[in-house]
Symmetry: C2
Subunit: 207 residues, 2 copies
């Protein structure tokens, strides 16, 4: 850590420099123009903007938007150490929690203790998906890659052999967060199947 006159600020700056590494964590999703893989930092910005604009579709009592955005800004920082686990990767998910817990301790631990506790609490809240804010945050976090997959004609679905039932299961938090957004997801998935971006059923085995 590089020391500055103010000890507290030194830790904050050190953490913010560490956070820069999230820009180099690549996701499976392509940018909508197909030019390259998306990274987790720009994804975090996109879903925060999405929360700001789609928050109106949450039924009353609405989740606190400001809190939703805080959850979204910090929720993926653990990927700096733990990497991005593909949403449909069962094997990767088996040790995801352990890897991410260790990452959270190290990365948030760079901050002054009280802020480390605060960010840790936000991250745990997001992961537990129990508060209305965490549910809404999870909903936009899942809606965004859906739009990317749709706009890239199912690039990541096709490449990984994903079928509609799997995507629908992954989108469950959206049903919980907003009936209107859930209806949109169903419409989009139907159109994706109709256009051949997404398979409706797993291919039958021929052996």
């Amino acid at each position: 850590m590089e020391r500055w006159n103010d000890e507290r600020l030194s830790r904050q700056i050190d953490f913010l420099a560490e956070a820069d590494k999230l820009k180099s964590v690549l996701r499976r999703t392509l940018l909508m123009d197909g030019s390259r893989n998306e990274n987790t930092a720009e994804h975090s910005w996109h879903i925060s903007l999405m929360a700001l604009l789609l928050h109106e579709h949450a039924p009353e009592p609405k989740p606190d938007l400001s809190h939703v955005i805080k959850l979204l800004l910090v929720h993926d920082l653990v990927e700096i150490d733990a990497g991005d686990t593909f949403a449909y990767d069962a094997e990767g998910y088996s040790d995801k929690e352990e890897r991410e817990q260790a990452a959270a301790r190290r990365i948030f631990g760079l901050l002054p203790d009280d802020q480390a506790d605060g960010i840790m609490a936000l991250w745990r809240e997001f992961e537990a998906m129990e508060t209305p804010e965490a549910v809404f945050a999870a909903a936009v976090d899942r809606l965004q890659p859906l739009l990317h997959n749709y706009r890239t004609e199912g690039f990541s679905w096709k490449r990984n052999g994903i079928v509609r039932a799997q995507v629908r299961h992954r989108m469950l938090p959206i049903r919980q967060a907003s009936p209107k957004l859930a209806a949109f997801v169903e419409e989009l998935l139907q159109r994706a199947v109709d256009r051949g971006y997404l398979a409706d059923e797993p291919p039958t085995k021929e052996e």
Copy 2:
């Protein structure tokens, strides 16, 4: 625009897809590891996180953090059309306002009218830098590339022949936003000069 059953949602989704292009707008700043240029979308995430953590250094009465973050999430969207204007590019600045006004009308205009007005108001507030929230947002927007330049041993300063007085001038909103952050900036600039990352004076002409 692709139409969905819900007309309002169609416009929102269209806007959010347009926003994806901000990930392809490159800034002069390198990532802290020097691996590539930073893009404006990930920059927007980074400064939002920065606002969350450094907000405590604003003196009382503190700016509203949630509003600061909203300003930061939307403030650079106009760059999708207008491009990133380098902070020290006097020529680029001469028509910056005109280019960005046109961009704001087109891009925000994709949204439903009431939301277009809301985002336009946020963008204008950021640009005018008159409210305490806009001043604090401008402060983190300027502090972040300073850290990047410092961590990359003055890459963008050296490449563009920038000297300390120019950087100090650019950092004025930080003095307005937080004496503590302003003191940190002075300390950092002195260290940057001592280490040869940043020139103290313009080179004397030898002709």
